[in-house]
C-alpha cells in the first residue's frame, strides 16, 4: 500500500498564484460580457469559446492542481478531454453530412 507517505510530496502553491488566477478569471468574465456587445460576425462564437476554454484551463491547472499532479492524474484529465473531443467529432460527422444523399431529413 503506497498510501500516506505521498502526502508530504504535495506541491504547495503560493497564495499569490491563487490570487493572480482569481483576478484573471474575474477580468476575463468582464471581457466575456464586454465582447458580447461587439459584433464580430462569424467570429462571435469562436472568441467566446476561446475565452471560456482559457478560463477552464486556468481552473483545471491551478485550482485543481493538475499542473502539479502526477503523470497518471494528467493522463486521466487527458482521457476526459479526448473523450469529449470524440463526442464532438462524431456529432459533427452527423451534422456535417446531413442531406448529402438528397433525401430531406437524411
Amino acid at each position: 500500500m503506497a498510501g500516506n507517505s505521498k502526502h508530504d510530496e504535495h506541491h504547495i502553491v503560493p497564495v499569490s498564484v491563487y490570487l493572480a488566477v482569481f483576478f484573471t478569471l474575474i477580468a476575463l468574465t468582464w471581457v466575456t460580457a464586454w465582447i458580447s456587445t461587439v459584433d464580430l460576425g462569424p467570429l462571435n462564437i469562436y472568441v467566446a469559446l476561446s475565452i471560456a476554454i482559457f478560463k477552464a484551463s486556468l481552473v483545471v491547472l491551478f485550482f485543481m492542481h493538475i499542473k502539479y499532479g502526477t503523470r497518471l492524474t494528467k493522463m486521466i484529465v487527458g482521457a476526459g478531454l479526448f473523450w469529449l473531443a470524440l463526442l464532438l467529432f462524431i456529432v459533427m460527422i452527423d451534422i456535417g453530412t446531413r442531406n448529402w444523399i438528397g433525401v430531406p431529413g437524411r
Partner: protein, 547 residues
Amino acid sequence: MITATATEKETKNYLNAEHGLKSWLLTQDHKRIAILYLIAVSVFFMVGGLMAVLIRLELATPAGDLLDSNTYNKVFTMHGVVMIFFFLIPSIPAILGNFLLPLMIGAKDLAFPRINLLSWYVYMLGGLFGVFVLITGGVDTGWTFYTPFSTTYSNGYVVMTAMAAFINGFSSILTGLNFIVTVHRMRAPGLTWFRLPLFVWAHYATSVIMILGTPVIAVTLFLLMLERGLHIGFFDPAYGGDPVLFQHLFWFYSHPAVYIMILPSMGVVSEVISTFCSKKPFGYTFIAFSSLAIAVFGFLVWGHHLYVSSQSAYAGMVFSILSYIVAIPSAVKVFNWAATMYKGNVRLETPMLYALGFIGLFTIGGLTGLFLAAMGLDVHLTDTYFVVAHFHYVMVGGAVMGYLAGLHFWWPKMFGRMYPQAWSKIAAGLTFVGFNLTFFPQFILGYLGMPRRYHVYPPEFQVFNVLSSAGASILGLGFLIPGIYFFWSLKNGEPAGPNPWGATGLEWQTASPPPTENFPITPVVTAEAYDYTEILSANAKEVTHVG
C-alpha cells in the same frame, strides 16, 4: 459444497463489531456500505417491479381498462427510471463490487472510505427526489427524456426526475473513482495486474465508463433543465437548438450505461464458471482485455439509437459498423466461458445455474442487438416490442441474472450463512422459465409491428401479451423466493465456513463474514489467479481418506 460445522464459534466480524443504527449510518467500512446499498437497491427494485406488475396487468387485455393513457405513460417512465438509474446501474458495482473489491485485492478497504459513504448518501438523495416525483404525480417522458416533448410539452415533473438522475450520477462517479484508485494503489504485495481476478478487471472497465460517461449525462440533463425552466435554447429549434443533439448527448452516456450494467455481470460469471468447473478461465488475458475493449468500443456505437431520426445516413453507416465490432469482445467472452466448461467437472450449484442462464439469455440479447444495428431492419423494428424484448434480454437476462448469480455465490461470504439449496435451484429455474415466457413473445409482437409505450393494442396481439403477462408472474415468483430464503438464512442458514464453494481468490481465504479489517495479516500473493491445484489435491486427499 463444503460447509462448516454448526458448532463453529462465532468470531468478531464486520456485522457484529459495532451495534446500533449510528454505527451503520456513519460507517466507513466498505462491507457495511455494501449492505446499505443492498437494502436501498432492493427497495428500489421492488418499486420498479411494482410498476412492471401494473404494466403487465394493463397489457393482459387489448383495451385500456386498468390505467388511462396518462397514468400508463407515467408508470412505464417510472419503471424505466427506477430500474435503470436506481437498480441496474448501482446493483453489482455498489453492492458486490463495494464488498468484494478490497477483499479480492487483499486490501483493508477502498482507497477513499469517506467518499464511499458519501456515494451512498448521494444515491439516497437522488432516490428521495425520485420518490418525491413518484408520490406527487410522476413524469411521462419515458426514461429517455426525449426533447422537444420533455422540454416543451410534458406536464410531468421532468426537472425533478432529471435532477434525481443527475444527483444519482455523482454517486456513480464517486464509486468509479474509488474503484480505479483502489485497483491502482491498494493491491496486496505480489498481486500483479495479470493475477487480478476477472471480476476486478470487469469492475475496472466499468469504472472507466462511469467516470468518462456519467458527466455527459449529468450535463445533458442540466441543459434540459435549463431549456425547460429558463427557455435557453439547446435542443428546441425555435430557440436555435437541435432536438437530435439531445439524442446524441443522451445516448453517448446511455448506451455505455448498458455496459455499466453488463460488464460487472460478466465479471461475476467469469468467477462463477471458473469456480464450479474448478478450472482457470480459458483465455484469461482475452477475457480481461475484452472488458476494456467493450468499455472503449461501447462508447462509439450510440448513433444506432438514432437511425430513424434526422441523423445522416453516413453517420449511421459508421455507427452500424462500430456496433457490429462491439459484438466481437462480447462474443470472445461467451466462447471463452464455453471453452472453460468444456471437459470441466461442472457442478450445477445455484450460482452456476444463474451463470448458465446468463450465457444463454445474454447471447440472445446480444444477437438481437445485431438485428437492431442493421440500418435497414431497424427502420421496421424501431420503437416496437422487439426493442423492448432485446434490451430486457440484455438487462434482465444478462445483468440481473449475473447479479443473482453473484448474490448467491458471495452470500455465504457476506453473511456467513448458507441458503437452502433446493429452494434456490427452484428459484433459478423459475426465473429462467418466467423470463423467457415474459420476453420471448415480445420479439414476435415487435416483429409483427406492436409499438412500445401504448396501453391499447389490436386484439390479434392479445395471445402474445397474455403469454408475456403469465411469464411475468412466474418471473416475479422467481424473484420473490430468493428474497424470502435470503432473509431466512440470516438467522437459520447453516454456517458457511470461509470457502464453501472450493473457490480460489483472496476473499475466500478470510473468515465468513470477514472481520472489519478483512485480513488479520496483509496477504502476499505468490501464484496466478485461479490456481486450483491446492484445492483439487485437498479434495482428492479427502476422498482417499474417506475411501
